[in-house]
Amino acid sequence: MSEGETPRSIVIVGASLAGATAAGVLRNEGYDGSLTLIGAEPDPPYERPPLSKEFLRGEIAFEDTLVRPATWYEEHGIDARFGTLATQLDARDRELVIAGGERIPYDALLVATGGRNRSFEVDGVELPGVLDLRTHRDALRIREAAADGARIVCVGMGYIGAEVAASLRSTGHDVTVVEIFETTLYRILGAEIGRVVEGIHRDHGVQMHFNDSVERFEGDGRLERVITSSGKRIDADVAVVGVGTEPVVEVMAGTGLDEGGGIPVDATLRTAVPGVVAAGDVARHDHPVFGPTRVEHYDNAIKMGEHAARVLLGSQDAFDDPHWFWSDQYDSKIETAGFAPTWNRMVVRGSLEERSFCAFLLDDGGVLRSTVSLDWKRDVRRSFELIRRRVAPDPAALADPEVDLRKLLPEEGE
């Protein structure tokens, strides 16, 4: 097909939240051509946020996490192949090669292969009881291993580690954390906010060891203890390793786009390969506001999936969502908007000490890049347009809870 025509065949690689969302939009918007959805996991697409929370605590069933009912794909004429690995993209002939050698032709293709957990190379990592969390089956393994009052060690206190710690503490387990940085969520939110979250975990009885890392796992036939670099010996039945993820880019081998930082896409989500679009955790997106950005957010997977579907059908619109994310830990909710790997100044409305606040992260020019809240209503969502339009608000107004953030937007056209 030539650019600008409606494709006759679309292949989605990655039966993920982004991939399944795109499939839904394609069918809802009237695309009735061939549609193939290929996923490496054996299960139909599901939502991952409950895996570290309600599902891990045994409060909901797997079926409750499905993006669409399992029968939806067939009912909508989608050739869904779960448990199938896509091995290579043949960009010249516009064919996708899958395990076993079958070649699936496409006019347009979406890569939504997501991420995988980074491997953790220490002695004893292969011992039974040393686990990590990415898939629904991983969560089941942790649930089973954590039965009967098992003692838990969380390795890493990013969002996954913090949510797993909170969930397993809530179900009555002894939980100990080993974190390489000086506090929780340090790399993402910085020390000031990280320490507030650390305090919440401490009040719930989580033991935390910061500025420390796992030297090795020990045990006779299964995990019995964790040895840290500073020499601590922590008795444990289960260790949950959460040390970050990496994008799954292997299908792009040979295109030059199988980059460790994610598949590069332009503002519209197109890759440099004609007809190929990428979305979700795997995409390193040239964001109109933030520049090259790869995020691993639930909401972004949905919105990028929606946008990608329209791009597959010919849309030239840029994707400029300001990004939104949340994390539930105990009865507390963290929300963030925007993207700020570093910042120059943090302005707080509310109170860090009282654990109820909205923090605004400003760059060198005073431009709002990201908003972070803890148990604070409304203001994160109200900051979306300020972030999207790169506004540099008056810090005193940001700090004043009486000021409606929407009033800080310049008039359109200004």
């Binding site: 969302t21 839904g24 939502e47 946020p49 409750d64 639930y298 909401d299 949905i302 919105k303 929606e306 939104w324 949340w326 909710k333 209503k377 409304r378 969502r381 109200r382």
Partner: protein, 103 residues
């Protein structure tokens, strides 16, 4: 003309607040914005979380606390995913200090 069922006192839903009522087995949320009452299904169309309890009312929108779906309470329309389907809306009236919901 719809039949109306009295569900409670008008004072139970002050300005900027939202509260759920049981109407013949249906869970209906009632919100008051700028003095006016709006009725809509209390059950998020995404994963069936309750909206009144934990949701954030902001002007004429409500955000579900579970996954961030946002609905316009005047029309039920989805303003932000993951929800795809709109909320059912209900007629609400205030008569003699009582809240009545159309069925």
């Amino acid at each position: 003309m719809a039949d109306f069922v009295t569900v409670g006192e008008a004072s139970e839903v002050p300005e900027g607040e939202v509260k759920a009522f049981d109407v013949n087995g249906a869970e209906v949320a009632v919100a008051r914005v700028d003095g006016a009452l709006f009725g809509f299904s209390d059950i998020c169309t995404h994963r069936h979380c309750n909206l009144a309890n934990g949701g954030e009312l902001d002007d004429h929108t409500i955000e579900c606390e579970c996954h961030g779906s946002v609905f316009d309470i005047r029309t039920g329309e989805v303003v932000n995913p993951p929800a795809e389907d709109p909320l059912e809306t209900f007629q609400v009236q205030e008569v003699d200090g009582q809240i009545q919901i159309g069925v």
